[in-house]
C-alpha cells in the first residue's frame, strides 16, 4: 500500500535489462561510428534510404478519387491497391474504394488481358461507377500489356452483357503510370492530362468559367480555393475535387454501393474545354493538364506557384482577377489584412528561427517562400521528387530574401530523407522542421518540433481539413508554426514572452 502511494524517488537503473526498457528503435550502428561522408549524398549512392516520395500510381489513384462516382482500377498485383488504400485511409480517415486487377503468376506469364476484360466487367456490374480510371503499374508496363486494345475488348464484353446504353454511360480513362518512371507527383500530373485528353475533347460554347487543377493538396485546401473563387464571384471547376469525396459527413443510412458525395462530375470535366483559363496550382502535379488545354484549345494556362503565403496568394488572386475581369472584394482584402496583422504580431517569435522544409516540390517551394515572408531563416529545403525547375525556383526565393540571412540554404532537388537527416545533423542549430509525417523520426532524432504540412500527414487528425493555401490557410499555418515554437522550450531566447 505505502509502496504504491509513495512517489518514486529514484530511477532504478540497476537490474533493468535492455529488453524491459521500452525502446521503439534500436539503432543498428552505435552512434560513435562516423559514417562514410562520400555516401551521404543520395546521388553518390545506389541505395535509397527512407524515401520521402512514392511511385506514380498513388498520385493517379488520388486524382481518380476526386471524380464523382469514379473508381480507380489498378492493373497490377493486389499490393499496389491495398497499400494505397491503406495509405489513403490513414491520411483521410475515409473509405477509399480502389479495385484491383488481381495480378498473379498467370498474368505475369500470359499478360493481363483477362484481368482487364473480366475486371472491368466485374467492377461495372457490381459497383455501377460512372468513371473508371485505369491505372497501370510497373508490372503491366514491364509485361507490355496493350491496354488500349484490352480496354476495347473490355468495352465489347460489357456491351454484349449489359447493352450499349449502359455501356456508354461508363467512361473509362486510361492513365499510364509505370511506377519506375516517376513519383506520385508525376502520377497526378499524368492523371490530369489523361482525364482532359480523354474527356475534354470539344470546345463548343466558350464560357467564363475558370478551371482549377489543385494538385496534391487536402480537402481543406480545395475548400479554401473554392472560398476565394466564391468571394470573387467566379464560377470555377475544380478537377479532382476531393473536398467532399475524401472528407464525407457521416449520414447513415447510406445507399449501397457506398459512394461519397461530391467530386468533379463527368459533365464538368467535359465542359473544361469551354472555360476561360486553367490554373494549375502545382506545376508538377497538374501542369500537364493545363498545358494540354492550352495547346489544344488555346486556353490560357496559369501554372503555379502554389498560393501559400502572402505573395503567392496575391499573385493567384490577381491572376484570377485578370482572367475574369472581377475585382478583388473587400472581404478578401480583410482576410489578407488579418494574415498580415498576425504576421506582424508574431514576428518576434518567428524571426531568425532556423527552419528546414521538405515535401513535394511545389509544396516545399510554397512553404519556403512563406517561411521567408515570416522572417525565418531557411537552412535546408528538400523536394522528394527531383524536378528541372526546383533548384532555380528555390534560388530565386532565396535571392529575394537574401538580406535576411547570411548563409546560403542547402537545396536538395530529389534525394532521400536519410540524406536530409544527415545534413540537418551537421547544423549547429535548427529550430523547426516543416514537412510531412515521414519526417517524424527525423524531428524526434534531432529533438526539434515538426510542423506537419504537405502530403502525406497520417499521424495526426484534422490536417487534411486544414488549409495551407489562401490567406486564411496561411494564417492557420502561421499559428501552427508559432505554437510549435512556443510549445518547445528554447534554452537561449525569449520565446516564452508573449
Amino acid at each position: 500500500m505505502s509502496v504504491k502511494e509513495s512517489p518514486v524517488k529514484e530511477i532504478p537503473v540497476e537490474g533493468i535489462t535492455y529488453d524491459q526498457i521500452k525502446i521503439e528503435k534500436i539503432p543498428a550502428t552505435p552512434a560513435y561510428i562516423p559514417r562514410d561522408a562520400r555516401l551521404i549524398p543520395a546521388e553518390n549512392r545506389a541505395v535509397v534510404i527512407n524515401p520521402g516520395y512514392t511511385c506514380m500510381p498513388l498520385g493517379a489513384m488520388l486524382a481518380v478519387l476526386g471524380v464523382r462516382r469514379a473508381i480507380p482500377f489498378v492493373q497490377g498485383a493486389q499490393g499496389c491497391t491495398t497499400y494505397v488504400r491503406y495509405t489513403f485511409c490513414r491520411i483521410f480517415k475515409e473509405p477509399a474504394a480502389i479495385a484491383t486487377a488481381s495480378f498473379h503468376e498467370d498474368a505475369a506469364v500470359f499478360g493481363g488481358r483477362r484481368n482487364v476484360v473480366e475486371g472491368i466487367r466485374n467492377l461495372v456490374v457490381r459497383y455501377w461507377p460512372e468513371v473508371i480510371g485505369v491505372v497501370t503499374t510497373c508490372s503491366s508496363e514491364i509485361i507490355g500489356d496493350d491496354m488500349v486494345s484490352f480496354l476495347k475488348m473490355a468495352r465489347k464484353r460489357l456491351r454484349d452483357e449489359i447493352g450499349a446504353e449502359k455501356e456508354e454511360a461508363v467512361a473509362i480513362v486510361l492513365i499510364n503510370t509505370p511506377s519506375f518512371a516517376g513519383s506520385h507527383v508525376e502520377g497526378y500530373n499524368r492523371a490530369a492530362r489523361a482525364f482532359l485528353e480523354t474527356l475534354a475533347t470539344r470546345r463548343t460554347r466558350p464560357n467564363k468559367k475558370i478551371n482549377i487543377i489543385p494538385g496534391l493538396v487536402y480537402p481543406g485546401d480545395i475548400r479554401e480555393i473554392k472560398h476565394l473563387l466564391q468571394e470573387m464571384e467566379i464560377v470555377g471547376t475544380v478537377l479532382f475535387d476531393i473536398a467532399d469525396t475524401l472528407d464525407a459527413p457521416l449520414h447513415p443510412p447510406q445507399s449501397l454501393p457506398y459512394y461519397p458525395p461530391g467530386g468533379t462530375t463527368l459533365e464538368e470535366i467535359r465542359e473544361m474545354a469551354n472555360a476561360a483559363a486553367t490554373f494549375a496550382l502545382q506545376p508538377e502535379a497538374g501542369g500537364a493538364g493545363a498545358r494540354f488545354l492550352e495547346r489544344r484549345f488555346g486556353l490560357p494556362a496559369v501554372v503555379g506557384p502554389m498560393p501559400v503565403g502572402v505573395a503567392a496568394t496575391d499573385a493567384f488572386v490577381q491572376a484570377l482577377a485578370r482572367f475574369t475581369g472581377r475585382g478583388v472584394p473587400q472581404s478578401l482584402l480583410d482576410e489578407r489584412g488579418r494574415l498580415v496583422d498576425a504576421m506582424a504580431d508574431t514576428f518576434h517569435h518567428t524571426m531568425m528561427k532556423r527552419v528546414a522544409v521538405f515535401g513535394d516540390p511545389d509544396t516545399a517551394l510554397g512553404l519556403t517562400r512563406f517561411v521567408c515572408e515570416l522572417g525565418m531563416t531557411p537552412v535546408a529545403v528538400a523536394a522528394g521528387t527531383p524536378t528541372r525547375t526546383f533548384g532555380r525556383a528555390a534560388q530565386a526565393i532565396f535571392a529575394e530574401y537574401q538580406h535576411l540571412f547570411l548563409d546560403q540554404p542547402k537545396i536538395f532537388n530529389g534525394g532521400d530523407l536519410f540524406e536530409f537527416e544527415e545534413y540537418l545533423k551537421t547544423l549547429k542549430r535548427l529550430d523547426l522542421i516543416i514537412g510531412h509525417s515521414k519526417g517524424k523520426d527525423i524531428a524526434g532524432e534531432l529533438d526539434v518540433p515538426l510542423v506537419r504540412a504537405g502530403f502525406p500527414v497520417y499521424d495526426r487528425f484534422g490536417y487534411q481539413k486544414k488549409p495551407i493555401v489562401g490567406y486564411r490557410g496561411a494564417e492557420l499555418l502561421l499559428y501552427d508554426i508559432v505554437n510549435a515554437i512556443l510549445d518547445y522550450r528554447y534554452p537561449d531566447d525569449r520565446t516564452q514572452q508573449l
Binding site: 512514392t54 499496389c80 484491383t100
Partner: protein, 482 residues
C-alpha cells in the same frame, strides 16, 4: 439484388454457419479481378512477418513505392533501404545496382548483422538473379545477405509471403544459431507480433509458470533470439497463418514439438496455459490459473451487461476468427458475421467449430461491396477488423474496433479485460446516439426527467442497457436476401 448474384463465382465463398461444410467452402483462391478486396500482395505478407526483425537491414529491390509503403507495418514505422529501380534499370537490369546498394547499405550501417533483400513484382518480371547477387555479397561481406523471394504477384494473397518469411527465418537465422542442448523451461511463440504489449502480457503469464520466452516470431526477433530459437523445448503457435509452417519445419528439423494455442479470451488463455503447464510437468500451477480466471471474471463483470446479446461482425486477416469468436462469445456477444482476407480451410474449419450461432455468415475474401451488404443484413452493434474497413463501417453507422488493436494489449487475462472495456466503450460511445439530430421536444422532456431523477454522478449508460444498441438503431431494415 445482392451483388453476389452478379458474380456467381463468389457464391461458394459465402455461407451461413448452419450450411457450412468445410470441404466445400471456397477459399485460398485468387481474388476476382475488378473487385475491391482487402487482400494484399506477397511482399506485404513477407514484410508483415519480417519487418520487426532487428539488427538487420531491410533492402527492397524494386521501384520506390514498394519501399515507401512497406516501411509501415501494423501502423509502425521501420527504416527501409531500397534500390528504387528507375526506367533504365528496368531496361538494362538492376543487378549491378543491387550489388552496389548492398555494399553501400552495409558501409553506412557497419554494425548490421545481415541484409534481407526483398524482391518485388518489377524485379521478378525483369528476371533479376537476386539469389546469386546475395550469395556473392554474403561471401564478400561475411554476413548473411538473404534473398526474400516475394514478388507481389507470386501468390494468391499475403499468406504466401508469410510462408516465404518463415522459410527465410529458418534457413538464414534459426539454422545459423549454434547447436546445443535443449534449454530447460524455455519456449518460442510463433506468430506473435507484440501489438501494443501483447507479448509482455503473455510473457508475464508464462513466467508465472517458470517459463522463459526465448524468441517470439516476430515480436521479439533480434538475431540473438532467432539463433537461440532452435534450442527451445516447445513452440507455441499463436497465429496459425504466420506461425504453423515454421513450427512444423522446426519440429521436422530439430524435433521441437509445438502446440497451437491462443491467448485471446479467458477459456482459451487458461486452456493454453494448462497445456503448456502439462508439457513442462507443472500441473501444480493449475490452481493458480483458476484463481486468475475467477479474478478476471470479476473484473469484466461491470462490462458484461452492456455487451450481453450484442451482435459482432469480424473481418480479420486469416487465423484469428476462431479464437476471437470464442472471446466475444465469452463476453455474451453473438457473432453474426465472420470473414477473413486470406483464411485457409483449416482457419474456417476452426471458425465453424468456435462460432455458436447457426445464422452466422462466413465469408472468404469479402469485397467492400459484400461487406456493406452483409453488414446491412446482419445489423451488428460492433464490427472488429483492420483499419481499411473501419471508415466504411463508420459511414454505415457501425461502431468499429480495430484489431490488431491500437491502444492496449488484448492478450492474456488483463488483455481480455481491456477487450471487454474497449468493446463496451465503443458500442456505447455517445457519438452513435448523435447520428441524427434529436427532435427538440424529446430533448427537453428527456433532459428534464433525467436531471430531476438523478444526480450528476449517474452513469447514462445504465439507461441504455434495456433497448436496442446504437449500431442497430441506425441501420435500416433488412433488404430481401438473394
Amino acid at each position: 439484388m445482392l451483388s453476389l448474384d452478379a458474380l456467381p463465382e463468389r457464391q461458394g465463398h459465402v455461407t451461413s454457419k448452419a450450411h457450412f461444410v468445410p470441404e466445400q467452402f471456397q477459399c485460398e483462391r485468387a481474388t476476382l479481378p475488378g473487385v475491391i478486396s482487402s487482400r494484399a500482395c506477397v511482399l506485404y505478407g513477407a514484410r508483415w512477418v519480417l519487418a520487426p526483425v532487428r539488427e538487420v537491414l531491410h533492402l527492397i529491390h524494386g521501384p520506390v513505392g514498394c519501399a515507401y509503403y512497406s516501411s509501415q507495418v501494423r501502423g509502425k514505422n521501420y527504416p527501409v533501404y531500397s534500390t528504387a529501380l528507375k526506367e533504365e534499370d528496368v531496361v538494362f537490369g538492376g543487378q549491378q545496382k543491387l550489388r552496389r546498394a548492398i555494399g553501400e547499405a552495409l558501409r553506412l550501417q557497419p554494425a548490421a548483422r545481415g541484409v534481407l533483400v526483398y524482391t518485388t513484382c518489377a524485379a521478378g518480371l525483369i528476371g533479376e538473379d537476386v539469389e546469386t547477387v546475395c550469395r556473392e555479397a554474403s561471401l564478400q561481406f561475411g554476413r548473411p545477405v538473404v534473398p526474400v523471394n516475394c514478388p507481389g504477384f507470386g501468390g494468391k494473397s499475403q499468406g504466401t509471403g508469410h510462408d516465404v518469411a518463415a522459410r527465410v527465418l529458418l534457413e538464414h537465422f534459426i539454422a545459423r544459431g549454434p547447436a546445443g542442448p535443449v534449454l530447460e523451461n524455455t519456449l518460442n511463440i510463433l506468430g506473435e507480433f507484440d501489438v501494443q504489449g501483447d507479448l509482455q502480457e503473455i510473457e508475464q503469464l508464462l513466467s508465472e509458470l517458470g517459463l522463459n520466452v526465448l524468441c517470439a516470431v516476430s515480436g521479439r526477433a533480434a538475431v540473438e533470439n532467432l539463433a537461440l530459437a532452435r534450442r527451445a523445448a516447445l513452440n507455441i503457435v499463436h497465429c496459425r497463418r504466420t506461425g504453423e509452417l515454421l513450427a512444423r519445419l522446426l519440429e521436422e528439423r530439430y524435433g521441437i514439438s509445438y502446440l497451437k494455442g491462443s491467448f485471446f479470451g479467458i477459456a482459451e488463455t487458461a486452456k493454453t496455459l494448462k497445456a503448456v503447464g502439462r508439457f513442462f510437468n507443472r500441473e501444480d500451477a493449475c490452481g493458480h490459473i483458476e484463481e486468475k480466471v475467477a479474478e478476471t471474471w470479476r473484473r469484466v463483470a461491470p462490462y458484461l451487461p452492456q455487451l450481453a446479446g450484442k451482435r459482432v461482425a469480424m473481418f480479420f486477416g486469416a487465423s484469428r476468427i476462431g479464437s476471437m469468436a470464442r472471446a466475444f462469445q465469452e463476453l455474451g456477444m453473438e457473432i453474426v458475421f465472420a470473414g477473413a482476407q486470406c483464411g485457409s480451410r483449416e482457419d474456417y474449419r476452426e471458425a465453424g467449430r468456435c462460432i455458436a450461432g447457426g445464422d452466422t455468415l462466413l465469408v472468404d475474401d469479402a469485397s467492400v461491396q459484400e461487406l456493406g451488404e452483409f453488414l446491412r443484413r446482419c445489423r451488428p452493434h460492433l464490427m472488429v477488423g483492420g483499419t481499411r474497413e473501419k471508415f466504411l463501417a463508420h459511414k454505415l453507422g457501425i461502431p468499429y474496433l480495430v484489431f490488431p488493436q491500437q491502444n492496449t494489449p488484448y492478450a492474456g487475462f488483463n488483455g481480455f479485460v481491456n477487450l471487454a472495456r474497449e468493446a463496451a466503450a465503443t458500442i456505447n460511445a455517445p457519438v452513435w446516439q448523435m447520428l441524427r439530430p434529436a427532435r427538440p421536444p424529446d430533448l427537453v422532456i428527456l433532459s428534464a426527467r433525467r436531471w430531476a431523477g438523478a444526480g450528476p454522478g449517474r452513469r447514462p449508460s445504465s439507461s441504455l442497457s434495456g433497448r436496442e444498441g446504437p449500431g442497430a438503431a441506425c441501420i435500416p431494415p433488412d433488404p430481401p436476401f438473394g
